[in-house]
Amino acid sequence: MGAVQPHIRIQTADFDVAAEIARLTGGRRDIGAVVTFTGLCRDEAGRLSALELEHYPGMAEAEVLRIAGDACIRWPLQGITVIHRYGKLEPGDNIVLVVTASTHRQAAFDAACFVMDFLKSRAPFWKREHAAGGAAGEWVAAREADEAAIANWRK
């Protein structure tokens, strides 16, 4: 399984989930399970007009690659893709995509969950809220539950 090369993209552009699944499965007959997770920008009951995502260029790619690489060591994956957007995103827009492919579903589910848990509190991205009125508002505070989710994987 060491041959799996994670596909990582940090970009402003949107992504196409179907195309990203096809990138992992195209021309192969050995993949039995593909799990995708898509994170979207939400309006928090009408309170927000946008989220602005800042990132640390260079480290964002490196850290996401480290996380995806760790997933490849823990589970027998046949492919893994992680795409994270930055810039100003509106409610309904895609923010992040994780695609995992494996022979059986459990590895694909678990690896996708692991990658998302680590992305949340280890990938250098920061969200700032834009209120419905249009003004740039507060930076989103980190949630303790995100840190706890990471601790669970270390048990």
Partner: protein, 83 residues
């Protein structure tokens, strides 16, 4: 030594990056945070709770006890909120 700042750390300090010459007694991340805090009101404001600041050396996460030897790029930022 290049220091870079992100999110509200960047906003409170009022700059995205800077070059600094560290005195010899600044040996660890923790020493660096203490030293920076005394550089002015904006640093004091950004680093008033040093335990809340996350640090990366050469684009890898480190603990506050990490030594700075070999660092060419040190980033300071709040807890991350991506995903």
């Amino acid at each position: 030594m290049k220091l870079i700042y992100f999110a509200w750390v960047r906003e409170r300090i009022g700059r995205t990056e800077e070059e600094v010459d560290l005195p010899a007694h600044v040996e660890t991340v923790s020493d660096l945070l203490k030293w920076l805090k005394h550089r002015g009101e904006e640093y004091e404001n950004a680093l008033q709770h040093p335990e809340a600041i996350r640090v990366a050396i050469n684009q890898e996460h480190v603990d506050h006890g990490e030594r700075l030897a070999g660092a060419h790029e040190i980033a300071l930022f709040p807890p991350m909120t991506g995903g």
